[in-house]
Each structure stands twice: as C-alpha cells, then as structure tokens.
C-alpha cells in the first residue's frame, strides 16, 4: 500500500485542454491512495469557477489536430478568425463526450469527493480582482509558502 505517498500539482493554465492533466492526475492519484493537493495560480484559477467557460484554441497551436485535417492545409492566420475558438471548443467537447472522456466538472467533483485539497493563489486572486464567490466551495487560499509546506514533503511534484 502507498497510503503515505503525496502528490502536489501546480495548475497554471486556463484552457479546456490544459484543464485535464491536473484533474485527471489528481483524481487518479487520490484513488491510488496519494494525499493530493493542487495549487491554482494565474490562469489556472479559471478551473475553480462554479460556471466553467473553458475553451480550446487552434491559434498558435500547431500540434492541435483539426477536423478535415485542417491542421495540415488551413492557413495559420485564419485560425484567428472570429468564431474559430468557439467552433473548435464545441467540436472538442462533442468528441470528448463521444469518446467517454469525463467533463472537467465531473473530474473536479471526483477530486473533491476524494479529498484532493484545492488551493487558490491569493496573490493572483488580488491581482486580477477575481470574485471568490464565483469559485466552487471548499477552495482554500494561500501563497507560495503554503504550497511549499505540503510540496516539500511530496513524492511527486508537477508544474502544469
């Protein structure tokens, strides 16, 4: 048994695709018996909103597979067209649903059920004047020192 193991993750990104790694890894680690904490900073704080509005963008992302192999022939500049982002987000969500990939909301609540501690960076909250009433319940607030208090004792520490 690995009941003593610990995992700390720093989540820094606020897009739909990058929302997955922290929540997938944290929920799985918790299921494997890890004590787990995620520290949300900068754009990662978007992942704590009650009403998520996460999107993916093909802009500046040459690695993103697009429908009809558009990533191969579609001019890069046109990925900046209005509506492209929301179209790609809709298609991505549809594909995820069809493939049985969990939604971010579901993974996030599985994390909370499994006692994954979610910590929001107080400095970023202040910096962007974020309204914490828009965040889900159960979030704790702290700074770099709070993060290290746990991270210093972990077996795995990831920056995402």
């Amino acid at each position: 048994m690995s009941a003593e193991k610990k995992l700390a993750i720093i989540a820094t990104k606020g897009s739909l695709d990058w929302a997955y790694p922290p929540f997938i890894l944290a929920s799985t680690a918790a299921a494997l018996g890890y004590e787990t904490q995620i520290f949300f900073t900068f754009y990662g704080l978007q992942l704590l909103r009650k009403r998520l509005s996460l999107e993916v963008t093909p802009l500046g992302n040459p690695g993103m597979p697009m429908p009809m192999a558009m990533d191969k022939w579609f001019p890069v500049l046109l990925t900046a067209l209005p509506g492209m982002q929301s179209m790609m987000t809709t298609m991505m969500k549809k594909k995820m649903k069809a493939k049985g990939v969990a939604s971010i909301e579901e993974l996030r609540s599985l994390c909370q059920e499994a006692d994954v501690k979610l910590i929001a960076c107080q400095m970023t909250v202040d910096l962007f004047d974020m309204d914490t009433s828009e965040f889900i319940d159960g979030v704790e607030y702290g700074g770099a020192a709070t993060f290290f208090e746990f991270a210093g004792e972990t077996d795995i520490c990831l920056y995402i």
Binding site: S27, A31, G100, A102, L110
Partner: protein, 76 residues
C-alpha cells in the same frame, strides 16, 4: 469466470473513469469481496494491473472478450 459479489459496468468510459469508478465501488465493499469490472477502454488493462499493485487489491483475473475487458478484483 469465477463468482463475484458486485459488478461495475464501465463500458464506454475513458481514462481515468473506469479506475475512479472501481475505486469508489470498492470503498463500499467489505474486505475479501470480489468486484467484477467491465470496460471498453483498452488502456484499462494496464491501468487495472497498476491500480492493483499500488492499492493492494488483488487483480484475480483480466481477460478480453469481443472488445470488452473484464476484471475480477478482490478487495484488500
């Protein structure tokens, strides 16, 4: 396939949901009881092996039949 006490159908679910659902179901079971999991995610074969190794629950059987993966897990 041997007898089991509880069944979990994780068909159509992708990583990491089969593992998370299995973990949740096992939490509600008594030690020594056997859980039968059905999954369609090909990655679940390796994942259940790894899950068993790390949690101490015993993977008694792992098999495939017509695109469905079946696992028998004994709760530690």
């Amino acid at each position: 396939m041997a007898d089991f006490d509880q069944e979990l159908d994780a068909s159509g679910l992708n990583c990491p949901l089969p593992i998370l659902r299995a973990k949740k179901t096992l939490s509600g079971m008594e030690s020594g009881k056997i859980l039968h999991v059905i999954a369609t995610d090909p990655g679940s074969v390796k994942d259940f092996e790894a899950f068993a190794k790390q949690t101490g629950n015993e993977l008694m059987e792992s098999s495939e039949q017509g695109g469905k993966f079946q696992f028998l897990i004994k709760k530690a």
